[in-house]
């Protein structure tokens, strides 16, 4: 029986050490991802959390760790090391830390494997969680981005500390005695970082994601490729396809026994199951909220590309203001997307369109389209009565419209010959104009081709002001508030210098007078030269 117990203990111990090594790597790499880690406590044991700690498993990291271990366990002279280094955008790299999981020969025969060792390994992992946040590399990793990135490399064998430079320091995370040896977890870290101002690496976070695609050639014969520490895992519920593991995934369901100390019995039950997910040999797609990245396992490369504006369609918050003309019989309305929720005015009818109009509809962003589709039936009282200056029923007429938005930051100006200074107003309400619209603006405004000239005079009569609440203004408390100001100065006359006729006339005159001017200038050449010399 004692032999069976010992062999069972030996099996348990090997398993504990193996999964402890894997969890150690996870904790270290996750601490260098550059973001805060948060996992939830669970009062009910799930059976899948080794050492009763909620430490998520990043599949690639597990894969790399298993590859490095290659079925072995840390033993005397065979340490598992995680190297953390920094690589700048210019390609320079520098080792920052080496985390070592070592085993020495000092055995503790009396210790109970499945109870004390397990709990102490759990404590050691907690210590690792704490220590990974206090070494200098942590603050650097939180600021990684465009200028530099943090990489990790796992290797098995002899510890290589030469890359840390002179005077590196060592911190011991902790030790756990076992019947086969003492496990020691420590970190050697470069200290000349302390003399480097972290401001050197300060940067604003990139708006878009980082595309990482690099290797670092290591001089060591047993080198393994470096990997970036900015892997983002999706949640477990996103249908992630994990690579198959070589051995069965083991779940540790631990139950402990309470009894008088002399008869302490500890039972460990384990469930074995295969990873239920299919094998992925090529590309791993892990969709995330607003981000997507592909993971090419075959080359251990990590590229990280956020979906371009998938995140941003809600976040961009464009209080886009559109302007278009409406014809008399088919009043249209433009929808205003944006998360601030402006009050859209519903069109009376769907866009009466030619194909061009349909295409323009199709250029709406999805939010526009949804918005547009939702509003035709609403707010009859907010419709605008349009008045095409030419009275045509064609949908190509200039459209007039009103937009109401509560707040707004920037106005997207349609690409058209707009003389409306109202479009410069960053906030909602403005009087519609007869516009000559050239083309669909990039934000997908719903307007037909503005082919008509459109008079500019009678616009004020053809719309009903529904609401005007410019941001940052109080409601009519002052005699001359912001809204009144807007209304009064929305339609200034066109500048004379901008009128084509005047411009054309002056152009002709300018051309005629050129020879005379040149002759005068030639006479005064000497004066000009003297002036230039005084400047030098």
């Amino acid at each position: 029986m004692e032999t069976d117990l010992n062999s069972q203990d030996r099996k348990d111990l090997d398993k504990f050490i193996k999964f402890f090594a894997l969890k150690t790597v996870q904790v270290i790499v996750q601490a260098r991802l550059g973001e805060k880690i948060c996992t939830r406590s669970s009062s009910s044991p799930t059976g899948s959390d080794w050492f009763n700690l909620a430490i998520k498993d990043i599949p690639e990291v597990t894969h790399e760790a298993k590859k490095a271990l290659a079925g072995q366990l840390p033993a005397v002279g065979r340490s598992m090391c995680v190297e953390i280094s920094l690589k700048t955008s210019e390609g320079d790299s520098m080792e920052l830390e080496i985390w070592c999981l070592e085993m020495n020969e000092k055995c503790d025969k009396e210790i109970k494997v499945s109870y004390t060792v397990y709990n102490r390994l759990s404590l050691l992992l907690k210590s690792l969680l704490a220590i990974t946040r206090v070494t200098p590399a942590y603050r650097l990793s939180r600021k990684q981005g465009h200028e530099y990135v943090i990489l990790y490399r796992i290797y098995f064998g002899e510890v290589q500390l030469s890359g840390l430079g002179e005077g590196f320091q060592t911190v011991r995370v902790g030790t756990v005695g076992t019947p086969v040896g003492t496990i020691t977890l420590s970190c050697a870290y470069r200290i000349n970082l302390a003399f480097m101002s972290t401001r050197q690496f300060e940067r604003t976070p990139p708006i878009m994601g980082i595309i990482i695609d690099h290797f670092v050639d290591r001089p060591y014969p047993s080198s393994s490729p470096m990997h970036p520490c900015n892997y983002r895992t999706a949640g477990e519920d996103t249908g992630v396809i994990y690579p198959s593991v070589e051995d069965s995934q083991e779940v540790c369901t631990t139950s402990f026994s309470t009894s008088p100390p002399s008869q302490c019995v500890f039972t460990v039950t384990k469930a074995h199951f295969q990873t239920p997910t299919p094998v992925v040999t090529d590309t791993l797609r892990v969709p995330m909220a607003g981000l997507a990245f592909s993971h090419q396992l075959s080359s251990s490369r990590l590229s990280y590309q956020p979906a371009a504006l998938g995140v941003g369609s809600a976040d961009l918050a464009y209080p886009v203001v559109f302007a278009a003309g409406l014809n008399a019989t088919h009043p249209h309305q433009l929808m205003v997307p944006g998360k601030e929720g402006g009050v859209p005015l519903a069109p009376n009818q769907p866009v009466h369109g030619t194909q061009a109009d349909q295409e323009r509809l199709a250029t709406c962003t999805p939010s526009d389209r949804t918005h547009c589709a939702a509003t035709p039936s609403s707010s009859e009282d907010t419709e605008t009565v349009s008045n095409s200056s030419e009275g045509r029923a064609s949908p190509h007429d200039v459209l007039e419209t009103i937009f109401v938005r509560k707040v707004g930051a920037f106005v997207n100006k349609p690409i058209n010959q707009v003389t409306l200074t109202s479009l410069d107003i960053p906030f909602a309400m403005f009087a519609p104009k007869n516009l000559e619209l050239e083309d669909t603006d990039p934000m997908g405004s719903l307007h037909s081709d503005g082919s008509s000239g459109g008079s500019s005079g009678n616009t004020h009569d053809d719309f009903v002001m529904i609401d005007f609440k410019p941001a940052f203004s109080k409601d009519d408390i002052l005699p001359m508030d912001l809204g009144t100001f807007y209304r009064e100065f929305q339609n200034p006359p066109q500048l004379s210098s901008l009128s084509i006729d005047i411009g054309a006339q002056s152009m002709a005159e300018d051309l005629d007078s050129l020879p005379e001017k040149l002759a005068v200038h030639e006479k005064n050449v000497r004066e000009f030269d003297a002036f230039v010399e005084t400047l030098q």
């Binding site: 406590s41 669970s42 102490r120 907690k126 704490a130 206090v134 902790g174 030790t175 631990t254 402990f256």
Partner: protein, 190 residues
């Protein structure tokens, strides 16, 4: 049984008191908390899972790890808040200390009340300094951050000495050893 006692000293600016205290106390409690025990038949029990989360300090260049338990965090914040107020109101030299004591309850026969026997005490001594310029404050941010890193390393060193810990209790005695009042985690009685 002797009670193990550890003392940590920090010098901080007034607005850093709370965060420095929380960093130290949460680090200690991280090591002194387990998952919830679920007792089964035949005297066996299983243990829940402890989650962790990183907390960035606002006034110190420092990040610490705490147990993911809002109840525990609230309890600590309340106590630290009271300590900070007491420190502020006391005036004087800006010195104060707070102790986190882990104890076991020992049932006594009637009419004696239960005994509380401490087995580990962590004392944090705080020295509050007043700074005049923004530059000094910025330097203090970094310096206190570095000091706290050293404190965390000290705490971890003590924790990993694997000295006395109360034996795992039976179901009837679990409240004598652990604080079972929290929903998600179970720290030792403190």
């Amino acid at each position: 049984m002797n009670c193990r006692s550890e003392v940590l000293e920090v010098s901080v600016e007034g607005r850093q008191v709370e965060e420095a205290m929380l960093a130290v106390l949460h680090t200690v409690l991280l090591h002194r908390s387990t998952g919830k025990f679920h007792y089964k038949k035949e005297g066996t029990y299983s243990i829940g899972t402890v989650g962790t989360q990183d907390v960035d300090c606002d006034f110190i260049d420092f990040t610490y790890v705490r147990v993911s338990s809002e109840e525990l965090d609230r309890a600590l914040r309340k106590v630290v808040g009271e300590f900070k107020d007491a420190l502020r109101n006391s005036g004087g030299d800006g010195l104060g200390q707070m102790s986190l004591e882990f104890y076991q309850k020992k049932k006594s026969r009637w009419p004696f009340s239960d005994e509380c026997i401490p087995w580990e005490v962590w004392t944090v001594k705080v020295h509050v300094v007043a700074l005049a310029t923004e530059q000094e404050r910025q330097i203090c941010r970094e310096k206190v951050g570095e000091k706290l890193c050293e404190k965390i390393i000290n705490i971890v060193e003590v924790m990993n000495r694997h000295e006395y810990l109360p034996k795992m209790p039976t179901q009837s005695e679990v409240d004598n050893v652990f604080d079972t009042g929290l929903r998600d985690v179970q720290p030792y009685l403190y």
